[in-house]
Amino acid sequence: MPAPPFLTPVEDSVPKVNNEIAIGENLDFQRKWWRLERAVWSLFLLILICDLLGLFGRGWLSKATRATPDNTLKLDYERIERADTPSIMTFHFGPNAIHNGRIQLYVSESITRPLGAQRIAPEPLISAVGDAGNTYTFAATNAPATVQIELEPSFPGAHDFTVQVPNEPPINAKVFVVP
């Protein structure tokens, strides 16, 4: 069956300039667009400044430190993380954290699951699960002692976590993971 004829007449469909050339210029729209462009470039500049300051992670504003009152446990972490990007959470232990050549560290499950713990350095002697988290036991000599956990969060959003050494108040904190 033959296709129906194309009945649209061949003629200019856009306004003419000086009644000579059909261009379809729309200066009113373009002026609005130029205003939008200026606003967008200001926004882009603001985004870059925020990024340089670390508001989207990996910068000065994203770094945080928490500690127990007597500095038995001091924690350096990033309060703003980026999804699928590695970061380091560092635990500094004071003398009170070492008992019989051992340090015990409890970390809540959220460190493993949403915050994506990849690796612990040094390797713990014992890893025990329970109490909605993991308890790691490390061999230790004298303070200061440091343990690092490499994180690689996969889930954007706000995630609470808790870390604690035995007989000390817990450190509760929150990490925002940006996409």
Binding site: V17, N26, F29
Partner: protein, 147 residues
Amino acid sequence: MPTILHAVLGYFILLFTVRVLKRRAGSQMTLFEFVLIFLMGGIIILSTVGNDRSVTNCTCAVIAVGLIHRTVSWARSKSPRFGAVIDGTPLVVIQRGVWQPEVVRGMMLRREDIEAAGRSNGVTKVEDIDYAILERNGRISVIPKDS
């Protein structure tokens, strides 16, 4: 699933960023613009496929981008307003031999751009141009005075 979402997001971020650049980004490419396009494309692809570099994942990403592009093209053909947002509208740079300073300033055009467009149309002097039109694709159409 994340790949498709990242591809959709990446497509619109790239489209928007290129759109708010001036119109030369896609046409009359100089080395200056090549750097921009390749660098932006390379950066977006990193977040689109992530760590999953399997053929399945890359195929899904390519299909997703293709479908979005087709949908945007369809919407552009149906709505002139949407088309203007995506592509802009043609702008008259020289009208009856007179510069249009608002357009020249707004589009960050240089006299050399018009002269180059004139030369490619066989016009040797800017004074001989009756109309110069910055088209939606970034090309500059030139109509000489004696045509």
